[in-house]
Symmetry: C2
Subunit: 225 residues, 2 copies
């Protein structure tokens, strides 16, 4: 499968690395590949500059958002929630049409500090906003409820836990569920249409408090039933 | 321990029954005990009339909100979220002062149908509203993230799952954690102060979607770490 991973931060790198390890053809998308490779300082999250990461991942290509999306079967949006619609607009509606579009992002608003609020919630969701903005894309919201490392290697927890998929297109959810299974997920719950992304996006406030209380991001929700 | 359980619906009856079974002195509080006992029809949730339930629970007393709260060491608010402040006002600030006040309710607004929205969220919570309205009560938000039967008998699930406590008073949280342990909970996570109730109240949207997707309310969150 040919994947585009839009975003060069922690989530983008983690997902791209894992997909390449699994044998997929992966292109990371960024606004300006030249500028991305020219950076020599760690990013805002303390990650080493992308060029250093790229050197260790010669099997992962780098291209513009549009080039990466155009060439891909599946597009993964791994940017921040606040940038999601901009990034996808740069990728181009034509390049997303008919494609499975995996949205991992959360509508976190850090403008008033910690804890962040959600810039959409309750009566709408970022997943729905993306689907409305790109009606020909087959949007699946998933993986926004756990830390990057666990998204792609859930087996590093002491027991199986749960991830969710939300989307209007059953076939797209099947494609994404297969990807999640490759990552190691054994309990994928299909919550229903894209409006159910409201529920998983609204998990972030308790996730953030749990991170504070437990002193680690290495945890995940499991639905015991 | 002397408990007041405010509310005669499913949650109130379930918690009162379990506390009495555990040997505690329990008084259910209602607005008008005479009217509550006079009802002969099932309630809005299909529960049998309270009088029928009371006949099977001769060890559980019925009194006004204020009488029940005045006599109790611990007051459990088991009414609906939309009625919480009214019910607690009827119980009386003086009768709640210094007491552990367990708030189970959720800020669900069904006025626009299903799925309900939350009438407070993100930047405030019902738990905080209750604490602000009754500053001398020692409010602990808990048990609002699972169905009534599992609140008091979590062992009926195939494995241990998680409940949360949020509150400003460490001693009150210890009292509530002891109650939860009596119920059978083995994983109680202290999320922090009462503002962390925002997180657990915002779990309701995904809880409701999970109920729809799984076709049952008999499930619970477990934090795997």
């Amino acid at each position: 499968m040919k994947y585009a991973v839009l975003g060069t931060g922690t989530v983008g790198r983690t997902v791209a690395d894992r997909l390449a390890e699994l044998g997929h053809e992966v292109t990371v998308g960024t606004r300006d590949p030249g500028a991305t490779l020219a950076r020599t300082e760690p990013d805002g999250m303390g990650n080493p500059p992308y060029a250093a990461w790229a050197e260790e991942h010669p099997d992962v290509a780098l291209a513009t958002f549009a080039e990466a999306a155009a060439a891909a079967d599946v597009v993964v949006h791994a940017g921040s929630g606040v940038a999601a619609l901009d990034i996808l607009a740069a990728a181009g509606a034509d390049n997303l049409a008919g494609k499975v579009l995996v949205d991992i992002s959360n509508p976190l608003d850090f403008s008033a500090g910690f804890p962040p609020t959600l810039f959409v919630k309750d009566t709408d969701s970022l997943g729905e906003q993306v689907q409305r903005a790109f009606p020909e894309a087959r949007v699946v919201k998933t993986l926004n409820t756990l830390t990057a490392g666990l998204m792609v290697r859930p087996g590093s927890l002491p027991e199986a836990s749960t991830v969710f998929v939300s989307g209007d297109d059953a076939e797209a959810k099947a494609v994404v569920t297969a990807m999640l299974t490759e990552f190691g997920h054994t309990d994928v719950i299909d919550l229903g249409d894209i409006t159910t992304a409201r529920g998983t996006e609204m998990l972030l406030p308790v996730w953030l408090r749990l991170m504070g209380s437990l002193g680690t991001a290495t945890f995940n929700f499991k639905i015991v039933r």
